[in-house]
């Protein structure tokens, strides 16, 4: 995994055969960034049920578009078995699978899916979006739960500038090595267009937090 994202991942990467859940504003960007590294290393990535994924954003994260497949699930799919069949096929053929927020999977199905993921060594990233209903995430028992809790865009004022960069506070909860919730500050992305974790040493972290406070007060005032 890319070094700049390693603070998010206690084991240095997404373990094969496990799931990671990402939620909050910016979940899509973070999910793409997590997948991009695997993609650059030559892994095949499938994005299922992400009908609105922005292709230029993929390219900006450095994704290898030649090894990225988009699979549209009909939105009105009440047929859980069809979803399960599709996911089963995808998990068998890809190293990394991204799931969109609209996908619903029952408990029994999730267990079968997990077994298949372990069998094929496939990792899953669930982008839960803003309504962290966590339906699929809960049943898939994600190894890591990344919740983007605070975000702040810079570069835009009242009628001036343009979106430049976004700062975000991410809480990472997990099992095993990462059972204690940790807070990671990130650029999502930075002005240079990179998704990186901010230095985790205490001083710069608090400076980042202060910066957040400062801007918020200015806006309120």
């Amino acid at each position: 995994m890319e070094e700049t994202l390693s603070p998010l991942l206690p084991e240095g990467g997404i373990r094969r055969g496990t799931a990671v859940a990402v939620s909050g504003h910016g979940a899509m960007t973070l999910a793409i960034a997590l997948a991009a590294e695997a993609s650059r290393r030559g892994s095949w990535v499938a994005a299922v049920g992400m009908a609105d994924l922005g292709v230029s954003a993929l390219a900006e994260r450095g994704v290898d578009l030649e090894r990225w497949a988009l699979i549209g699930l009909p939105i009105a799919t009440r047929d859980g078995r069809l979803t399960a069949d599709v996911l089963g096929a995808v998990v068998g053929g890809f190293d990394l699978v991204l799931l969109g927020p609209a996908i619903r999977v029952g408990n029994a199905m999730a267990r079968r899916l997990l077994a298949r993921m372990r069998e094929h060594g496939t990792s899953l990233i669930c982008a839960l979006g803003n309504e962290a209903s966590g339906n699929i995430a809960a049943s898939l028992q994600p190894e890591l739960n990344m919740m983007i809790e605070q975000t702040l865009w810079t570069g835009v004022d009242d009628g001036h500038g343009r979106l430049l960069a976004r700062r975000a506070g991410v809480t990472v909860e997990g099992r095993g090595a990462a059972s204690r919730p940790r807070r990671v500050l990130m650029w999502l992305p930075s002005t240079e267009g990179r998704v990186t974790c901010v230095e985790s040493d205490q001083t710069s972290a608090s400076a980042f937090d202060l910066g957040l406070e400062d801007i918020r007060q200015r806006r309120a005032g």
Binding site: D52, S56, V86, G155, V156, G159
Partner: protein
Amino acid sequence: MAVVNLGDIDTCDNELVAAALEQFTPLAEALRPGLHVLGARGPSRYFGGEKAVAERVVRAIADAVPSAPRAGVGVADGLFAAGLAARVAAASTAVVVVPPRHSQPFLADLPLTSLADQISPLHGEDGTEALLDVLWRLGMRTMGDLAALNEADVLGRFGWPGLLAHRLTRGLGDRALQAEATGDSASVEAEIDPPADRIETVAFTARALADGMVARLARDGLDCVSIGIEAESDSGHASRRRWRHELRFSAADIVDRVRWQLEGWYRSPERPTGPVTLIRITPCVTAPADGRQLGMWGARSEADERATKALARVQGLLGAEAVTVPRLDGGRRPADIGRRVPLFDTAAEAQASPKKAKKKAKAAEAPWPGRLPAPSPAVVLAQPEPITVTDCVGTPVTVGGRGEASAAPQLLTDSAGRSRTVTAWAGPWPLDERWWRPSVRRRQARFQMILDDGSAHLCALEAGRWWREATYD
């Protein structure tokens, strides 16, 4: 599987032979004039053994076409072995039966050049000659020599043709084993009006039908191994025959079969008295395409193969359009810059017009004044969402002729009626595309808006209406 080899016979006699063979099984298929295939399992149960069937076939042909050369019938597990057995049989005892699972020892003593025989799937393929040439220079003389090698080594050194050759020498590689029968729904037909009294006219119509059918099957990742050709005449006669191909039918192959069938039909005792009015082609048996002709994403590794298979399965479940691949293209709006190309299109695109694909790639890199700089939105709505944007007194925000907002946006209401306060915004950036053609002209004023929940959106005002086009999620 039984193969009947009559050597070179004319299409008229061939029609009589085909009729005689249909008495044994309705699924008699012709590879070409003088070379026919029968499923041997059913008839052999009925007539008491494969040898008995084969002998009856020889007699039936001799009765039906006394002038025909002596038939050779070969029976084996696969088409390739059965075909070579029939060739041996024609030159000797009339019947050669290779016991089940004994194809490899039977083939082992035959010369390596048999791999280029008419009956071989490698016949006429690109690279077959070169492959056999190299194998010959490596000192291999019989198919047994090749079969003795390790499969993985052969694949690594010679690629796909080598693998197929290796499988053939071991009595494998017969595609019918994994083939699937298709229903009549896949058939294509054309009425010929005015009715055609010349075969070339029918062949011309058949060419268009065959092109469409083969392209459609290729799009679904299928090769056609066996087809049914039906022709009707205005005198009420009809001709139905099945044809098999050793590897897969191309459109030109199908047209050849149509020609052969009609020639035979018009010269047979049951010839129609009128011109042809209808031609119908049905793909009877299809097999998963092995992907050679797809060449989807460049080099094929094991991971490529796995992913391709999974995607084919998903296409089977959801329809071919459900699987797309992202492509960058020229344009100014996010939905134009990043396109989703259906999977089968990318294959066709790359194969049909490398020039066009290159042009597209160039368009993506060219500067597009008016394009918003990075970061790009991670969510681009396939269907922009209609919204309303109002100022602090509730009046809809508009953009004047000078490209300035009438007031600062204050409240954004989405299509579900939920409102959020706009905490920061930027714009408007005008976009005037294709102003030289009124029918496709687009004029937009674009805004970036940050809402009080921290989300950022790309909104556009077009012809007095507001749309949310993308979200910087």
